[in-house]
Amino acid sequence: MRYRPYQALGLFTVVLFALVGTGLLLPAWQFLTTVALAKGMAVLGLMLLLRTGLVSFGQGLFYCLGGYAAGSLGQFWGITDALVLLVFGVAVAVLVAAILGLLMARYRDIFFAMLSLAFSMVLYGLLVKSQMLGSTDGFNLATPTLLGFSMGGDAGSFPLYVMACVLAWLAACGLYLYMDTPLGRLSHAIRDNEIRVEYMGASVYRAIYIKYIIAAALTGAGGVVAALAVGHIDPEMSYWVTSGEFVFVAILAGTGSVLAPFLGSIIFEVARSLATQYSPDTWQMILGVVMLVIILFLPGGLWSVFAHRRREPS
């Protein structure tokens, strides 16, 4: 499928304005969508790995690192500027990924999944036992500010909502353009046939290493925004169930488009909030059934991720 950068970026911009507009019209919608977009960023990171043929069951690690980095800056150094927190959160995620990636890039398939899960659970275990970081309770974040203006409290949830929308837009545009670069295209090539990639002179290890870091950055950013929106962080962010949710949304959304993770995430959050209200004890069952339905009956687009079948155009 030909990449049409102008049309695609145009579409994304339209969506951005539509989102912001809808947020203005439906203020009650803002919080949920902010969180959904934040998690969507995490899923976007996961999607990059999926397109490279790797399933990470541990993106929660970076999601949590982002949140805790932002939270710690606020808690211990009193910094509340949202952009500073964002940059710091992403930096921490990238640093950890740069180290872990050296190892992770050697693995594939179920071993990659297991190792990623192991690392996220290591962080979980560390945080639960960390009194300084609030152990299982975690701690709250102060209301973020941007250039001195408050982004919460009296200002409402709109500023943070806009920030989430803009970030999502940047991430979507960025990843879309990236996938059209020679290195970006290597993702599908690696997923299809690693041997051929090596024999054409590219280092699969290096390519995966880079993508692992990019995915971590996106997920970390998502963690920061989620933490700011919810105003609270706890070790659950690194628990394997959180990573499992990202995987679920990624399957639901499919890897066909950079917009899919956000759409899927919004659907997921809406469904979850409905379920929590009306039927909290069947939410997991619904998730499980939906996942089975998708796996069993919706191959092709949604499943080309794993079955190495024809990928959908972006």
Binding site: D192, I195, R196, G201, H308, R310
Partner: protein, 254 residues
């Protein structure tokens, strides 16, 4: 002879199996060499060692005098040795054109690195656009009509062609073809080899190809290496080797 590729005393065992025993050969630039031998005789092992997939237990391989024995496949590719595979290694979910574009993209990524080691390849990387360069190769191989077909859905003959085309993209100096016509129908075989050889001669590439089909070997090679139980049984012109008694007994069965 000015050897572009030289193998010296290569040995390789897999447990009790002798895949290569004291294999030594010097290949001249622009040569076209056929490698023959029964299955398991050591032809593919030789190709695997030259392309870095296997490391010989002992011995050296030199490219234009430089030792490449322990290099990995991607490093060897960057130095100008490319190969095709017995079972075509393609990106099955992508179109023919996209398959080639990936290769060109990799060339571009490696452009600085390759400029030092393989000027011809670096030149390829600077093509006006990926599109134009891919189109060139598609045309050379008469694949242009199929450019938007999904690689995984192509018939075997076209898959083989694409596999070889992918090997040629990087403008290698040495091309190794592993059974280029196996699995291909009899009437297609010559067609494929014709197209390949035309493209190859246009680029001035040294070719080694592994083949079981003696007609192909007779028609296209200038020199033949016959393998048997890991050793080189005979090495010489097509006529001499194919007439050799040992070769007839152990390889061609003629």
């Amino acid at each position: 002879m000015n050897a572009i590729l030289e193998a010296r005393n290569l040995n390789k065992r897999f447990g009790a199996i002798v895949a290569a025993e004291d294999v030594s050969v010097a290949i001249a630039a622009d040569a076209v060499v056929g490698l023959i031998g029964a299955n398991g005789a050591g032809k593919t092992t030789f190709v695997n060692m030259v392309t870095g997939y296997l490391k010989p237990d002992s011995g050296q391989i030199a490219l234009e005098g430089n030792d490449i024995t322990t290099l990995r496949p991607r490093q060897i590719t960057r130095r100008g040795i490319c190969r095709s595979f017995q079972i075509p290694q393609l990106y099955d979910t992508m179109t023919v054109r996209e398959n080639l574009e990936i290769g060109l993209g990799i060339l571009w990524l490696n452009r600085r690195r390759m400029a030092a080691e393989s000027p011809a390849a670096a030149g390829a990387g600077k093509a006006a656009s990926l599109d134009a360069a891919a189109q060139d190769i598609l045309e050379q191989f008469h694949l242009a009509a199929h450019r938007d077909r999904i690689a995984g859905e192509l018939p075997e003959g076209l898959r083989k062609l694409l596999d070889i085309a992918m090997a040629l993209i990087a403008r290698p100096r040495i091309l190794l073809l592993d059974e280029p016509t196996s699995g291909v129908s009899a009437d297609e075989k010559f067609d494929i080899m014709d197209r390949v050889m035309t493209a190859v001669h246009a680029q001035g590439v040294t070719v080694l190809f592994v083949e079981h089909d003696m007609d192909i070997v007779r028609r296209y090679s200038q020199r033949v290496l016959a393998f048997y139980q890991g050793r080189i049984l005979a090495d010489g012109s097509v006529r001499d080797v194919l007439a050799d008694e040992d070769v007839r007994r152990h390889v061609t069965g003629a």
